[in-house]
């Protein structure tokens, strides 16, 4: 059993490293300003987004037993908090900049 585990780990890491290594080899011939690079950039973002959406909607592992509704609520709630906090941060920054500019104006003007 133990030898089995070690082989499984080695095979998994080999399969994972293969994609990474091929990626680096390919990178050697690609300029960061080229169109090919831009295309790969789009591919990477789309693949990641697809993976995340699939993990949430068709999960593997323990998440299989969580209901669709609970997963959906978690995601929507998190996105809500994310956007609210982003909005509040920008609002706070705007208020700060406004306060600073009016303060400086009074002082020097």
């Amino acid at each position: 059993m133990s030898a089995n585990i070690v082989y499984a780990i080695l095979v998994t890491s080999l399969a994972t490293f293969l994609s990474r290594f091929l990626g680096v080899i390919t990178s050697e011939g690609i300029k960061e300003t080229s169109k090919l690079f831009k295309w790969f950039n789009c591919l990477a973002y789309a693949t990641l987004a697809a993976l995340i959406a699939r993990t949430i909607i068709f999960p593997a592992g323990v998440l299989i037993d969580a209901s669709y509704a609970s997963r959906l609520i978690v995601v929507l709630l998190s996105l809500f908090v994310f956007f609210i906090s982003k909005f509040l941060k920008e609002l706070a920054l705007a208020i700060f900049l406004f306060a600073r500019s009016s303060f400086c104006h009074n002082k020097f003007g």
Binding site: I5, G23, S27, A50, L63, F82
Partner: protein, 234 residues
Amino acid sequence: MIKKSFFLKGYSSIFTHDSPAIALTCCFVAIGALFKNLGFNIQESIFSTVLTYALPGSLVMAESMLIGASLLNIFLAVWFVNARLYPMAVSLFPLMMHKSQPKWKYYFSCHFIAVSAWLIMKSNYKQIPKKYRIDYWIGIGSATVSVSVIGTFLGFSLSEYLNKDMMMGLAILNPVYFLCMLIGASKTVQVTLSVLLGIILGPIMYLFSPEWSILLAGVIGGTIAYLVGEYNVS
């Protein structure tokens, strides 16, 4: 050999407000507990985290072992799931290539490519001089791997105290964190459209072909987003 100041700067990116540290720890706690339940010992669990360092791959390995799949099957299943690392590498390493840096650094540090480190590098690389980006990247990668190892260790040790509901909570944290980070990174037309199309196409493709779904969705969504972006610019 490795410029220390940039390495440390990369390493300290794990302590910023938008760092993946908490999400990473949580999901590796879940993985550590899963490994323990599968019959791994502590060395094998940590060995696996360090050597693979890609969550979906580890999950697939665990599932394949549960159903008693052969080594070849494990290899193919993991390769399919982690093939996304290829476009991720190609969209990151050209930013770091510099003639004065030795090649072994690139070959060695490609092991750190995973969503968390990739997202940090993508949002910060402009502030780092091109020559030292690779050192900065090695710093980020070392930091995320250290966090993952700590998480695996915690999960392995605490697995008796974790019930199924807690495991679910830990497991969903990571996809939700990455979703928010991807939306946060969507600043250009191409990236926004790529993310949007990926989210829509990923689950749809899964209905047709579970193995190929991620790659198909990535290629189709990414290509459409690229073409729309190029067309809009010109």
